[in-house]
Symmetry: D2
């Protein structure tokens, strides 16, 4: 069991969302925040940095949105459905545009290839949470 | 002229959004992140903290979302319309639920009264940005 | 191999720090940011929330500092030794005070028990990074 | 009176630090987080982006550290002196290295010139807080 799942289990506030689905999404959001932060940094270190400017920018946005989403989902007390949905939708969108841009450079740059994979996985985890919100 | 407006003016990337509207929203997002962080903290310091638990939680979410929104809007290079719209919509939503909850305690607690005002203003600034996105 | 290690390996900027040590610290910082965010939330959900106010506050600080530290360590381009040291020292300090406070409630509250463990581990990972900075 | 000062005044937790000094530092930390975020973005938009890679990286770090510092200082409940000192020291350090790097490009790039000024001011505000911690 991951620490996230252990922590969610100790939080005794009533939850509207399945904790397994939540924990997977939280963990992947942090993983994606990490990958996007390093991908933006690796973009800066490339000789062809000018080609990677849009990639770096979208990675930075995605890192910020993923970090915030992980934190919002880590709170179960005082759950608000509409707020959760809006935040997770923004995260799915951020992962999609960041993943799409990384995909354009994936053959040339390994950091974009790995980062694209993480963005796709994170988008999927967000969609699982959205499907669970009723 | 605020520093934010000065900074946006020095960023020569082509912008799709009016810089005055952007700068006002960015400044108010940071102001709201501050107010919500202190309101959540003040909630913890109240004797009746148990009545303010939902308020503290929504304030914490709102602070996170406002901080991320301010950062996304501070980047003009590689602008993505759909991502910007999703993030600002989530921020307007966060400000609304946080403001609504603070409103319920505004007569009793001065920190909730001031924080509600800032949340309302921030929601409006977000809606101005959303109206400017075409 | 974790995603973090994979991402650090793809970043070709010259590094002054061992990537294994960095990756472990980054992953634990995100884990600690998660644990502290949920522990603060669980504090709010307890009947005896008034006893847990200091715990919630220090958890919130620790979550913020850990998140920032993970991001700073995820960037290898343009490495600055003194900045890295200051940030990681602040993180070790945040983990220590947050862990110490959780320890006082660990017998009573499972979320504090798990969170304390994560804080201790994160403090140790930070000290490993500090030892590697020369 | 700024909103920050108003909010700090409503937080009735006993404070060890002068609220005027705190409020000034908090506001300048958010201002610096904004300036550094836009300066890093403007760096990406420059033709000579390769010359500005270290600047962008240090700006990104400084934005993260300033954002976290503003939040830690916005909390008065459960104040911890050593944690506050460590965090504000890291922030002063981040502002110094970010400001120094911007200074090297200030004649060429207006965004670096403005950002340097904000970094210097934020470093000074941090030092005022450090002087007030006893």
């Amino acid at each position: 069991m991951t620490t996230t799942m252990a922590m969610l289990d100790t939080d005794l506030s009533p939850t509207q969302l399945d904790k397994q689905v939540l924990a997977r999404c939280i963990d992947t959001c942090f993983e994606c925040a990490q990958a996007c932060t390093t991908c933006a940094d690796a973009d800066l270190g490339e000789k062809m940095v000018a080609d990677l400017v849009k990639c770096a920018r979208l990675n930075l946005d995605c890192a910020d949105v993923c970090g915030t989403t992980a934190r919002v989902l880590s709170r179960q007390t005082g759950y608000d459905r509409d707020l959760t949905r809006s935040v997770v939708q923004a995260c799915a969108q951020a992962c999609q545009v960041s993943g799409d841009e990384c995909a354009r450079h994936a053959q040339m740059h390994e950091h974009c290839r790995v980062c694209e994979e993480v963005c796709r996985r994170c988008q999927q985890r967000c969609e699982e949470v959205l499907a669970a919100i009723v």
